[in-house]
Each structure stands twice: as structure tokens, then as C-alpha cells.
């Protein structure tokens, strides 16, 4: 609890960080709506395009910010000091997860609100809430991924090579742009390792008129993946810079 309280206090003290992490996705979604309007295609439903894109933005921003914040902690020496003061890896990971989940919750709400305002999603309240659950779960997976990746970077600069490595596969292999069935067999196989694939599966089920219960299998994969990645993050959390 102490790590979570401390991280929340840091977030409260670093308003610029909180503003950037919520305003940047809004700007990106606005640009997306401009792009969509310019595209002017009646062939694809707005919700099938915009909602997965929103989930991807949550994924991207949460992942990058978490990774950078944790590496910053390592570089500043506070991570090592936490360890030497007696905080254990599980406590540290759980504390960060708790605090940043609150931020991700806020971020997901803002993104979904903006999506609803700028696009004709036609989801209704129930569908919108179901999409929110998926986005929130995706944010938790992204937090876990950010934590895991931060364990392998010695400074902020080393986070950036991991960005395309982690963020490009979801663009092509999640079903967001091209249906997974249309991909070559090897790419379909790789897509099983892409968390966004499961989020997009569930979102498409909702936008096609179904509900969470109809997509329980990919839905359950999101918390399962989050747990596996968090376990790996706690196991690989190092004291040494």
C-alpha cells in the first residue's frame, strides 16, 4: 500500500505528466476523426474502425508512459533505494499497478468519451460500458508490459527500441486493420501472442451487436495475459541499474 500511496502522490505532484497522458490520446483521436472524415468510406462501419483504434491508443500511451516512468525511477536511484529499504519486488509491482491503474481508468474514460463524441459508434449505453471494460483491461495489460520492458532498459533512451518491437505487431496482427483470417498462417500464429488481438476480437463482437458473454474466450485472455506479464515483471525486477 505504501508504494501505491507514494506513486499516487507522485502523480498528483506531477500534473504535467497526468495532463499529457490524458490530453495526448485526445489529440490523436481527433486527428483520427479528421482522417476518417477525409477517407469518407461507407464500406467500413465507424465503430469497427474507431473503437479498436481507441484501444490501440490506450495500449500505446499506457505502455510507453509506464515503461519510461519506471526506468526514470531506476535511473534516479529510488528503485534501488526502495529495495535496500526492504520493499519487495511483488510490493513494488503491485503498488505501481494499483496507482497507474487509476490513471489508466481515467484515461480510458476520457478516450471513450471523445470517441463517442467524434464518431458515430451506435453502441448504446450497454455496448459503451462493455467497450470500456475491454479498454480498461487492455490498459492493465499495457501497464504490465511497460513494467516488464522497463526491467530490461538501463535508461530512458533504451526504452525506445522496445517501442516499435512491442507496438508495431499489434498494428498489423491484431485484426485492427486487416482481418486475421486474411493473414498468412505464420502471422496468424504470431498474432496469438499479441494482447491487442484479444481486445479487438471482443470489440468486434460488441460492435457487431454481440456482448461480452459472446466473446468470453478472448475476453478472459486479457486478465490472464496481464497476470502472466505481471508475474514475469515481478520476477525480472532487478535492483542493479
Amino acid at each position: 500500500m505504501a508504494v501505491m500511496r507514494n506513486t499516487l502522490a507522485q502523480l498528483a505532484g506531477d500534473r504535467r505528466f497526468v495532463i499529457v497522458s490524458t490530453v495526448v490520446p485526445v489529440v490523436v483521436i481527433y486527428l483520427l476523426s479528421v482522417f476518417w472524415d477525409a477517407l469518407n468510406t461507407p464500406l467500413v462501419e465507424q465503430s469497427r474502425f474507431a473503437v479498436p483504434a481507441g484501444a490501440f491508443i490506450v495500449h500505446f500511451v499506457t505502455y510507453v508512459l509506464t515503461a519510461i516512468v519506471l526506468v526514470r525511477e531506476r535511473v534516479a536511484g529510488t528503485m534501488e533505494r526502495m529495495f535496500i529499504s526492504g520493499y519487495r519486488p511483488g510490493e513494488i509491482v503491485a503498488g505501481y499497478l494499483g496507482a497507474y491503474t487509476l490513471l489508466a481508468t481515467l484515461q480510458s474514460i476520457v478516450i471513450l468519451l471523445v470517441l463517442t463524441l467524434l464518431f458515430d459508434l451506435g453502441l448504446g449505453l450497454g455496448g459503451t460500458l462493455e467497450v470500456y471494460v475491454v479498454m480498461w483491461l487492455m490498459a492493465v495489460v499495457s501497464l504490465a508490459l511497460g513494467m516488464l520492458v522497463s526491467n530490461f532498459a538501463r535508461n530512458e533512451g533504451q526504452v525506445f527500441p522496445f517501442v516499435p518491437l512491442v507496438m508495431m505487431p499489434p498494428v498489423f496482427l491484431s485484426g485492427m486493420i486487416v482481418a486475421i483470417d486474411a493473414l498468412p498462417t505464420w502471422a496468424q500464429t504470431v498474432s496469438w501472442a499479441v494482447p491487442l488481438r484479444y481486445a479487438v476480437d471482443v470489440i468486434h463482437e460488441i460492435t457487431d451487436g454481440g456482448g461480452l458473454a459472446d466473446a468470453w474466450a478472448p475476453l478472459i485472455m486479457l486478465p490472464a495475459l496481464a497476470m502472466v506479464i505481471l508475474f514475469l515483471a515481478a520476477r525480472t525486477l532487478r535492483e542493479e541499474v
Binding site: A2, A9, G77, F83, E239
Partner: protein
């Protein structure tokens, strides 16, 4: 079990980073309740030794026991009993002084609004800045916050890595006064520094060079053979005499001399340490 009252025992300690040998078979024993200085030039291995003591790195070879425990295998047990102040302040700049201290206190189940937190802030003289974010404090104040974080849980063993680096002389004197008070209460204080003058404040000092202890003595014994240059002026001109052992030779010289004016230039402590290190290596 402690080895003969020694709080820290290092034997043949080696730490190698690829081609760099940071610790090269270091032997050391630190006694309970003493202020023990680790003195040496930059890159001598002081910080590596400290990190081995606190269990932040795995030695390549050799062994180290701290409070009778293995710093790696028993790290969580050990860390409840030691306080550590790293070289860089390692604080949260956006959080207040009080919150920083309270956070590190919480790791030892010391409550944020408890007596120890308040007492520690008083000890480092930061009560009036307790509610200010650390980023608004001066460098010296940040060092004091960092010190407070290390000693808020009243550890048996306090390990300070260059605590006075970048600190003005007045604050440095205050720090050493605090260290002495803690040692008088039974806390073992291990301090690394590259400021040779601080060796005089310690009960014992280890001179470290290239990952080895080249001398470990009380500062009185260590600096006993201090060199000096004496200038004697009898009115007809100045005579310069170099003394190899100032303490022994000066009384005799003064007894023989009839000079009207005597100027003594003591060998700087830095030079003594470097000379002792060279002699130790030979």
C-alpha cells in the same frame, strides 16, 4: 553469530565487471559502534564495496557477512536492520520532505505521523521545510532529507556513500556531529568519502585503492608520520627544512633553532593519503 564483535566482515571479496576489477580480493572488518571511514580516490571500489555490504550486488568471489548475515541470501532480514544513504540523493522530487521520509519509514513499518519521523526531521533540522516538495530544496537540504530517509528507522548499521559530497563546510560539520551522536548510541556508521580531511572524524579508516584495502587504522596512527616543511627566519635570510616525521622531529628542531620567525607548512591530508596508498601498494 557475529565474528568477534565485527559487524561487517569481508574476506577476499572480488567483484569483476567484464574487464574491470572493482574489488580485487578485499579484506575488511568493521567493529560495532564505530565510525568507519572508507577513503580512497574515485574509482577505488568504495561504492562497489558498499553495494556488496547492502546486498545490492553479488560478489564474483569471496565472502561478506553483515550483522552475521549473508547480504544476498538473507537480504530481507538484513535490510530491516540497516540504513543506507546512496551517493545520489535518490528522492522523489515532486513529493514533500515529510512524504519522502515517511515512505522509506513505511518500509520498516514506521508510521508516517509517528514519533520517529518527526524526530528524524528535527535531527536533520528540516521541520520547517517538511511540507515543501524536495525539488524546491537546496542540494545540501536534499542531502539532509536523504540522510533522514536512511536513519528514520534507527538502524543498527548505517551505511553512507559520500554523504557530504557537494555539502558546504558548515553542514558537513553538522553531519559529522550527527554521525558521532549515533555512534555514541551504539550505531555502527560506515562512511565513504574522497575528502581526505574527513578521515580525522572517523574512529578507524580503510584506505582503498584499486579494489583493495591498503591500510586500515585509526586516523591518529594513520597520519602520525605527517611530513612538513619548516621555514626558519633568523633575520639574515630564510632556511627551509623538510621533515619526514613532523611529530617526532619538530620539537628537536625548535629546541636547536634561534630563528625569530618560524613558518610550518603541513603536508596536506590528500598528499598523505596518496603517499600511504602508494606505500601500501609497494
Amino acid at each position: 553469530m557475529m565474528d568477534d564483535g565485527l559487524v561487517v566482515v569481508a574476506s577476499g571479496l572480488v567483484k569483476r565487471y567484464q574487464s574491470v576489477m572493482a574489488l580485487a580480493g578485499l579484506d575488511l572488518g568493521i567493529r560495532r559502534g564505530e565510525i568507519f571511514g572508507l577513503i580512497g580516490p574515485n574509482g577505488a571500489g568504495k561504492t562497489t564495496l558498499i553495494r556488496a555490504i547492502v546486498g545490492a550486488l553479488q560478489p564474483t568471489a569471496g565472502s561478506v557477512r553483515v550483522l552475521g548475515l549473508d547480504p544476498i541470501a538473507d537480504r530481507w532480514q538484513l535490510r530491516r536492520r540497516l540504513g543506507y544513504m546512496p551517493q545520489q540523493p535518490a528522492l522523489y522530487p515532486d513529493l514533500t520532505t515529510h512524504r519522502n521520509v515517511a515512505f522509506f519509514a513505511a518500509a520498516h513499518s514506521v508510521h508516517a505521523n509517528s514519533g520517529p519521523v518527526q524526530r528524524t526531521l528535527e535531527l536533520v533540522d528540516l521541520v520547517d521545510r517538511a511540507d515543501d516538495p524536495v525539488r524546491t530544496l537546496s542540494g545540501g537540504m536534499r542531502q539532509r532529507v536523504s540522510l533522514a530517509c536512511a536513519l528514520v528507522h534507527e538502524p543498527e548499521l548505517l551505511i553512507l556513500d559520500e554523504p557530504t559530497a557537494g555539502v558546504d563546510p558548515e553542514l558537513r560539520a553538522t553531519f559529522w556531529q550527527r554521525f558521532r551522536e549515533m555512534a555514541n548510541r551504539g550505531t555502527t556508521v560506515v562512511v565513504s568519502t574522497h575528502q581526505m580531511g574527513e578521515a580525522l572524524e572517523c574512529d578507524r579508516v580503510a584506505l582503498i585503492r584499486a579494489g583493495k584495502v591498503v591500510a586500515a587504522e585509526g586516523p591518529g596512527r594513520l597520519f602520525r608520520s605527517r611530513r612538513a616543511t619548516v621555514r626558519l627566519d633568523d633575520g639574515n635570510g630564510e632556511r627551509r627544512i623538510d621533515l619526514d616525521d613532523y611529530e617526532r622531529q619538530l620539537p628537536a628542531l625548535m629546541h636547536e633553532s634561534s630563528a625569530a620567525r618560524v613558518t610550518i607548512e603541513m603536508e596536506p591530508l590528500d598528499d598523505i593519503v596518496l603517499r600511504l596508498i602508494r606505500e601500501g601498494e609497494e
